[in-house]
């Protein structure tokens, strides 16, 4: 097997090969370092690259495994973390040079759990500054580039995670999702990206954008790898006040390929907003495929869907302004202009505006729970368009011209607002660029989400396509 092919193996495949002593973590890490060095001038996925540390950890992993002290399926697997996951002793920029001197003295809970599971950190990944934008553009550390077409955006804010996983620079990457920042780059880069239930994975040690909507989660190339990362990272953390204190299942158990009888609802409101015709056709084909596999598909209505953007924006902008208040006042002129505008806007909402948005959120969540009494999953597009050129501010879709931020977040935000789990998986290509299918489930039912996504993935070959890089 050549080094490039090796870099496209999944964590599940590599883990089985490592356990079977067919391959060593040292070989795997070396292949990935070579690939990163070759691709970084074109992709710019990394802010901090750690080849020497990774080589050292790989040798240690090899010794532990040979000595019979293997730590499980992620032992020896290459990992990249979005540069807002604290790692002890490493800079944590949050995508801005304003934070480049900040070096945490402890690990975020998720980074610590992945370290304990034996994953090997290759570095920290580029992102939209402050995680505050869905395109993956960053004038300070350089824009991220989509491996399917390097003139196009990766999506964001976890853009470096998207490009690194899609190009074979990393096997595992972690993103965070406040309005779609895991699912958007996953869809645009052709990955499986899971935003778990709010509170399933600890937020402890992650730079905040919006406390009540921030979700950590995996961005990888297969649904099995999502499940493996969930097994390693989910669970109660007393350091996170909203962490869920319930037993964690084995997320790989449900990956049987059997979705017979699962009830899938397709909100009719999804197709009353701007959506590219080809994307719509591809997503409907994917939904029909789920039906062929035994799911029962029906149209449903989600009347408050049109209000989601207003509610989520009010909450996100208020919380982001509160969190960054001191920085905005003292160094606002050094923040990238479009991010600065969004941060400062939060100062212009009143306490009453925020509380009313939270009451509206209660209503939306009630409505979401009611809706999902009759269906197990909601299905639809992750995005209404495929990746577009870096620097684009607005697009014409159908007969409407719309700014890219509301366009890119129109299908993802509902699940940040209600906290329900949602995944994006590749479901086709338009103009040689990936299209994402979004499947969302009830709270704490990641297993159902993963089961359906896995069944779809295994019945199709979209996840096996490789970008031309």
């Amino acid at each position: 097997m050549d080094a490039k092919e090796l870099c496209y193996l999944s964590a599940g495949q590599l883990g089985r090969m490592i356990q079977g002593k067919e391959i060593s973590p040292v070989e795997i890490i070396e292949a990935h370092i070579t690939r990163i060095e070759a691709l970084e001038p074109r992709l710019n996925s990394f802010i901090t690259f750690l080849p020497d540390q990774a080589r050292k950890e790989a040798r240690r992993a090899e010794q532990e495994i040979l000595a019979g002290r293997g730590r499980g399926p992620l032992h020896g697997i290459p990992l990249g973390l979005k540069d807002l996951y604290y790692v002890k002793g490493l800079p944590n920029t949050g995508g801005t040079k304003l934070f480049e001197r900040f070096v945490p003295d402890f690990d975020s809970t998720v980074a610590g759990k992945l370290r304990e599971a034996g994953a090997i950190l290759l570095g920290k990944l580029n992102m939209h500054p402050f995680a505050y934008g869905p395109t993956g553009e960053n004038p300070e550390y350089g824009h991220m580039h989509n491996p399917w077409n390097t003139e196009c955006i990766t999506g964001g804010s976890s853009g470096g995670s998207g490009s690194a996983a899609a190009s074979g620079e990393c096997v595992l990457t972690m993103g965070s999702d406040t309005g779609g920042s895991i699912r958007i780059p996953s869809a645009l880069c052709g990955l499986a990206g899971l935003k778990p239930t709010y509170g399933r994975l600890s937020r402890y040690g992650l730079t905040v954008l919006s406390w009540s909507q921030d979700h950590p989660g995996p961005m990888v190339r297969t649904v099995e790898d999502c499940a493996l990362v969930m097994n390693a990272t989910a669970g109660y953390d007393p350091n996170d006040p909203v962490s869920i204190n319930l037993p964690v299942p084995d997320f790989t158990k449900g990956l049987t390929g059997n979705i017979r009888g699962i009830r899938i609802g397709v909100p009719k409101e999804y197709f009353e907003v701007p959506i590219d015709g080809k994307v719509k056709e591809i997503v409907w084909k994917a939904i029909r495929k789920l039906e062929e596999l035994g799911a029962r598909v029906s149209e449903v209505s989600w009347p408050m869907y049109p209000q989601v953007a207003a509610i989520a924006s009010t909450i996100q902008m208020s919380e982001a302004a509160a969190y960054h208040q001191k920085l905005i006042k003292e160094k606002g002129d050094k923040i990238w202009h479009p991010v600065r505008l969004r941060l400062e806007a939060g100062f212009f909402f009143s306490a009453v505006d925020y509380i009313q948005a939270e009451r509206a959120r209660s209503l939306f969540t009630q409505q979401s729970r009611e809706l999902m009494k009759n269906v197990d999953l909601l299905a639809g597009p992750t995005l209404p368009v495929v990746a577009f050129k870096i620097g684009t501010n607005e697009m014409t879709v159908g007969n409407r011209t719309i700014k890219v931020i509301p366009l890119l977040t129109q299908y993802t935000r509902p699940f940040n607002l209600n906290g329900f789990p949602a995944i994006s998986v590749p479901c086709g290509f338009s103009d040689d660029l990936p299209v994402g299918l979004q499947l969302a489930g009830r709270p704490l039912e990641e297993e159902t989400v993963l089961r359906a996504a896995h069944a779809y993935e295994q019945a199709t070959e979209w996840h096996l396509r490789r970008p031309p890089i």
């Binding site: 209000q307 207003a310 509610i311 924006s313 400062e344 509380i355 948005a357 939270e358 209660s362 209503l363």
Partner: protein, 64 residues
């Protein structure tokens, strides 16, 4: 019908000063223009009937 005015320049500057932004910065014009575009899009919350509802609190710890 008269068009509703969202955030007059005077009100904008008063709030900006109150929250500690540099009101003499040329950037203020951009921020005011941005807010004038943004705020009307958030008005839909006011159309919702929120009677009897409390603010949202994460309560996902019980499986329903």
């Amino acid at each position: 019908m008269a068009e509703k005015t969202f955030l007059s320049k005077e009100t904008f500057l008063r709030i900006a000063e109150h929250v500690g932004l540099d009101v003499d910065s040329t950037h203020m014009g951009d921020l005011h223009a941005y807010l004038k575009g943004l705020l009307p899009t958030l008005e839909t919350i006011k159309d919702l009937d929120l009677a009897g509802l409390e603010p949202f609190m994460p309560s996902l710890t019980k499986k329903e």
